[in-house]
Symmetry: C2
DNA sequence: GGAAGGTTTAACCAAATAGTTAAACCGGTT
DNA sequence: AACCGGTTTAACTATTTGGTTAAACCTTCC
């Protein structure tokens, strides 16, 4: 019983902290607001997570893994590169739409305090073999004449940038392009097709 | 003389406030740090700009105009669309490189407090005729068979996204792709060509 | 020289905020 | 029923921070 209550409270805190930190960033977040959101006392927050820094570090690394984890599909799946990209863009766009503040949160906090992300990096470096397998796959398909030679780093960045930007800058985009919420949704649906086309076009052999 | 001193101090404040706000955002910025950066007393800051909000509003609207102003080239210049895009990407990339924190600053603050940007929008809407001229130009070149039909909103967003993202997420990109500062610079130089190619490809008639 | 007026500073204030403490609470155990 | 452990709370503390005040400091003008 105790355990259940305990985990329940802990989860409520984590959920609340996640929501507030993602939206407002470290500096914009007050412990009181997290407590309020979780429906608990501020002292209880410190009982479960000693300090704002400790709590933040936990939320941040969770968020980071969540975001980077979505990339695993690119490495793991054993399907042709072009097919892979089609599926990835579709899924990734949906994921970002459902987690609008996540990418900006990560980018901001890594900019603000790069140290927080250095330790998380090593966990990624360890999975180097997967990267090599992907590069080998690309090389193979290039030799087969399916793909033309290209720099995967740029393609990767282009894809991520085009996927993330409209959501990260959503109020700006809606404002500048004068869109309603519905038009924005429509716009995003169109984008999936357009971005996929552009990326495929930039790597497919003619 | 008074006037000179006055403007000198005011400029020092504006420069300092700009630098600190852009890097740390509204919440991360302390008036004391601005004062220190400007080499003046905190009270003097309040003498020139009554409150943090007032100072911020000024810096923000300056920054916003600076960023949006760079887009004017797209509307004003009377040269073929494809040529326009080539020049724009080259110049815009250099501009963002020299103002790394600017786009993220704008995006963040508009996300955090959309009202601050509503009033700035009207100033842009007033220049609607330029937008219509650009759209007419595109339509004309499409009819001439130079361009294929496309949605300018997506093309615009794609261009901006690919230009801005690597700088906004610079530490992340450098970390994940394991680049030195020199390699990053090199990478950006390559990007100009690649992004230009991709964008042109997505609008040029075959 | 000194009065006048804008500029600059040191010292201060009040509110916000991260973090602490000690007591109350509550479920299970004997 | 009394107690023991972990959990929760109200009340408090210390520090940070935006903002104020009153005096000191020029510079200009008479």
């Amino acid at each position: 019983m105790k355990q259940e209550i305990n985990e329940n409270t802990e989860n409520k805190i984590i959920e609340a902290a996640n929501s507030v930190f993602e939206k407002k960033g470290y500096d914009g977040t007050k412990m009181q607001e997290i407590a309020d959101t979780a429906g608990i006392n501020k002292a209880l927050l410190h009982y479960y997570f000693r300090s704002k820094d400790k709590l933040f570090e936990m939320i941040f690394s969770m968020a980071f893994r969540k975001l980077v984890g979505k990339l695993e599909f690119l490495f793991d799946e054993n399907i042709p590169v072009i097919e892979k990209i089609k599926i990835f863009i579709d899924q990734h766009t949906d994921f970002i739409a459902a987690n609008r503040h996540l990418p900006l949160f990560i980018v901001n906090e890594v900019n603000r305090r790069p140290e927080i992300f250095v330790k998380l990096l090593s966990g990624i470096y360890e999975k180097d073999d997967r990267l090599h397998r992907l590069l080998a796959q690309i090389e193979k398909e290039t030799k087969e004449g399916v793909l033309k030679p290209f720099d995967p780093r740029h393609v990767f960045l282009n894809m991520i940038a085009m996927n993330i930007f409209p959501f990260a800058a959503k109020p700006l985009v809606k404002g500048l392009l004068r869109m309603s919420e519905d038009e924005f949704r429509q716009f995003i649906t169109e984008r999936k097709r357009i971005v996929t086309e552009i990326i495929i076009n930039s790597i497919a052999a003619k």
